[in-house]
């Protein structure tokens, strides 16, 4: 047991708190004004992308939609398909190089992460999310789609 010395109102020494504060603020500033924009991944649907194509130029996107007419060569691991928005109209060509997950089929939902290059969406990773309740998207269920994009791993 130690006894507490008689309490005296201590003199505040602000220096150390100031140093800490400066370090913290500096670190946060470094983050915000560093290349924070380049490490953000935006979640979009093909229709959303088309509305703001210029804004998303050069950014990493995570796009979700329906697989249409896939073409895959297992020897070169090259995959080409068209991604259709749940509005049934917007279509974006997709290119991906890599192994095809088991669940990847035509008319299935898929989420691709990558960047747009000359009108083609070049995927770095392909995410297939299958849920028990999954139905092929139809007009008017874009909310499902947003969820799919967010949940895909």
């Amino acid at each position: 047991m130690t006894t507490l010395p008689t309490a005296r109102r201590r003199k505040q020494n602000p220096t150390k708190y100031l140093i800490g504060l400066v370090v913290l603020l500096g670190a946060i500033g470094y983050l915000v004004y560093g290349n924070i924009g380049n490490s953000l991944v935006y979640f979009v649907t093909p229709a959303e992308y088309q509305q703001k194509a210029s804004e998303y130029a050069g950014k990493t996107l995570r796009m979700g939609g329906l697989v249409v007419s896939p073409d895959y060569n297992p020897d070169t691991l090259e995959l080409k398909f068209t991604m259709m928005d749940s509005d049934g109209v917007t279509k974006i060509p997709v290119q991906y190089n890599g192994a095809l997950p088991d669940l990847f089929k035509a008319n299935q939902g898929v989420v691709v992460e990558g960047q747009m290059q000359n009108g083609t969406f070049v995927g770095k990773s392909l995410l297939v999310k299958h849920s028990e309740e999954y139905r092929a998207p139809h007009s008017g269920d874009s909310t499902d789609y947003k969820k799919l994009i967010e949940e895909a791993q």
């Binding site: 309490a7 983050l31 995570r62």
Partner: protein
């Protein structure tokens, strides 16, 4: 069926809920008695509070046992068992199903907390802190047992009369690590509740001297040891199962366990300053409150769906409830600390930054900054959505931006701290002391440069790692020589287990740092499709697919690709569990080597056409991370052997200076 609380419980569900209700009753009783014992200063109340901790431990254990029993009996009238278990699972999978989902893991959390409360009740000193320590532990218990009876009840009945359950998540049936990682994590998380309880007791009783720190040191170090092991175990699981060859993705869940670790590590160092120099009293109180509160915050983040994560946990009312508890903890801590702040007077201030306490304090600031940045990064998508209304996620590059420089800074301070004496340092002797370590570091970095390492972060890491080792070796050798020769080194560990245990832990961390640097900078991977018996070149090695075999078992179908890399046999598998036919889980083949693992993942196959697509990954020094962690845990263990040293008012004149 048993009618109970208006719910038709099955027999087992009824027993479990009853046990939890009794536990809750004793929690409330213990809390009341603890507070009364504190206010009235009557040891009889306090004694009563202590004993009710035993009853709580007993009843929560009964509840845990009942749930485990229900899982093994395949009692699908209990909803938790129906949703997360199935008859055909292997026994070990059934055993870990207890914590495979939310309700069960909260029950495990409550059980670990009741175990700790029980142990505290046996070990807590008979002093003024005692009633309030017990009361604080009961306060945490009140929350966890309470939610186990309400929003996260594992014993909720299931009335559909199913004869087969939905089974556990495939990812959790795939590796024995799942039996270890959550338990370690909770031992670490919940362990932080003990120093927190002591801090609250010290604040209430105004006894903010060194007593509460001395009493909680072993608790803290044990919790820290478990937490460190748990975080790396999680990384190792990710490496062994997810097939991407990595072990850390800055996923919200990983961050949720990393933030408390950072704060606990800072606390582990700053309490030494308080013990030695009677400084930073307020700071320490805030740190432990922050460390404990962030364990709850992390759980909120991962369970509430606020932040998307690999650990796609279910949503529900549990998130807000946890957030409420986090807010309450922070509020209690901050209000108490603010009220008491004018009474806390540090006996000293740091008069020379170039001293051991100066280095510790600098380290503390870095740890705190690191923690704040990780929290910011984790919450950044939430902020972006709130401000700009776009959904985003933050990739690892974002975190690496600050994690690498801060990590290097910590490595630098870690090497300088032990070399400095407490209080005083004249600059000449520092320069002299640092000659050997810095020289060694520079030599090692130059050698690496000659050997072709061009990555600046890796070179700096190597430099700092070598300088750390050289410094610790120098200190140890000097101390041993003073005792009469290098053969006396072992004796040092017996005399000063605390100090030399810390050295060992530092060496473990150095190994981890080298592993992270090399594996991060020089990972290579390639995906290719192999046809049966047709050799292909991959990253300078020859790969041949020898066979593709499909094995059907009760709980899963397993596909195995036998691929020979040069002369090494690898067997990568793809498992499909009967309860989730749509979600195949890869079982990468990992062969550990000291310098470079052989790592093969089976991605896709077609038996009829005899081809398999595999990913071959080469990552240097990954094993160093696992070995380094073992060394770090060993170091903590050595440190724990120390008898609690009495607080020294003055540093001894013969303090070892480098």
């Amino acid at each position: 069926m048993t009618e109970f609380l208006g719910l038709g419980f099955s027999e087992l569900g009824g027993y479990g809920t009853l046990a939890l209700l009794l536990a809750l009753g004793f929690v409330l009783y213990g809390l009341t008695m603890g507070v009364l014992g504190g206010i009235k200063n009557d040891p009889r109340f306090t004694e009563s509070s202590r004993r009710s901790a035993w009853a709580v431990f007993l009843f929560v254990s009964v509840a845990l046992f009942v749930l485990e029993y229900a899982i093994f009996k395949d009692d699908f009238s209990v909803r938790y068992v129906y949703r997360h278990s199935m008859t055909v699972s292997q026994p070990w999978v059934k055993f870990v199903t207890l914590w495979a989902a939310l309700e069960g893991s909260i029950l495990l959390w409550a059980w670990v907390l009741s175990l700790y409360t029980f142990l505290v009740s046996l070990s807590v000193r008979n002093d003024a802190l005692r009633p309030w320590v017990m009361a604080s532990m009961f306060f945490s218990l009140l929350f966890f047992v309470g939610i186990n009876l309400t929003v996260a009840s594992p014993f909720t009945p299931n009335i559909n009369g199913a004869t087969e359950g939905q089974g556990p998540n495939p990812l959790l049936q795939n590796h024995w690590m799942m039996a270890v990682h959550p338990v370690l994590l909770y031992l670490g998380f919940v362990g932080l509740s003990v120093p927190f309880a002591y801090a609250v007791a010290a604040l209430i009783t105004r006894k903010l001297g060194e007593s509460w720190i001395t009493q909680t040191r072993s608790w803290l170090l044990s919790a820290w040891m478990f937490l460190s092991a748990a975080i790396v175990a999680g990384g190792w699981w990710s490496y062994e199962i997810l097939g991407w060859g990595g072990y850390w993705a800055w996923d919200p869940v990983e961050n949720a366990s990393f933030v408390p670790w950072l704060l606990a590590t800072a606390f582990l160092h700053s309490i030494q300053i308080q013990e030695r120099r009677r400084m930073l009293k307020t700071w320490n109180v805030y740190l432990i409150i922050g460390a404990y509160a962030t364990t709850v915050l992390g759980t909120f983040l991962t369970r509430s769906g606020v932040v998307e994560s690999v650990h796609a946990f279910g949503n529900g009312p549990i998130g807000p409830v946890f957030f409420g508890f986090f807010a309450v903890l922070m509020l209690i801590g901050i209000v108490l600390a603010s009220v008491r702040a004018p009474l806390i007077r540090d006996d000293h201030t740091i008069n020379r930054p170039l001293s051991r306490e100066g280095a510790f304090l600098a380290g503390n600031i870095v740890f705190l900054t690191f923690a704040v940045m990780v929290v910011l990064g984790t919450l950044f998508p939430v902020l972006v959505e709130a401000i700009r209304n776009v959904r985003t996620s933050v990739g690892p590059p974002f975190f690496n931006q600050f994690a690498i420089p801060l990590g290097l800074l910590l490595l630098f301070l870690m090497g300088i701290g032990p070399m400095l004496p407490w209080q005083r340092q004249n600059n000449e002797s520092l320069l002299k002391a640092m000659q050997i370590p810095v020289g060694t570091g520079v030599v090692v970095a130059l050698m690496a440069l000659l050997l072709g390492v061009r990555d600046i972060a890796v070179l700096l890491t190597l430099l700092l790692c070598a300088y750390n080792i050289a410094g610790l070796a120098k200190l140890t050798a000097r101390a041993a020589l003073e005792r009469g020769g290098l053969h006396k080194t072992f004796e040092l560990f017996q005399i000063h287990p605390r100090r030399y245990g810390a050295y060992v832990a530092h060496i473990g961390l150095v190994a981890i740092a080298s592993g992270i640097a090399f594996s991060g900078a020089y990972k290579q991977e390639k995906e290719l499709t192999l046809r049966l018996n047709q050799p292909q070149q991959v990253m300078g090695r020859t790969a041949v697919l020898k066979s593709l075999q499909i094995k059907d078992q009760l709980d899963k179908r397993s596909v195995e690709a036998h691929v020979v890399l040069d002369s090494e046999d690898t067997y990568a598998r793809l498992n499909t569990y009967v309860n989730q036919p749509q979600q195949p889980v890869a079982m990468p083949f990992v062969k550990y080597h000291p310098l470079k693992d052989t790592y093969v993942t089976l991605l896709a196959y077609e038996q009829k056409e005899n081809w398999a697509t595999v990913r071959v990954i080469e990552t240097p020094l990954v094993s160093w991370i696992w070995v380094g962690t073992l060394i770090m845990v060993l170091g903590s263990f050595i440190s724990l052997q120390a008898p609690g040293t009495s607080v020294q008012t003055r540093t001894r004149p013969q303090e070892v200076t480098a």
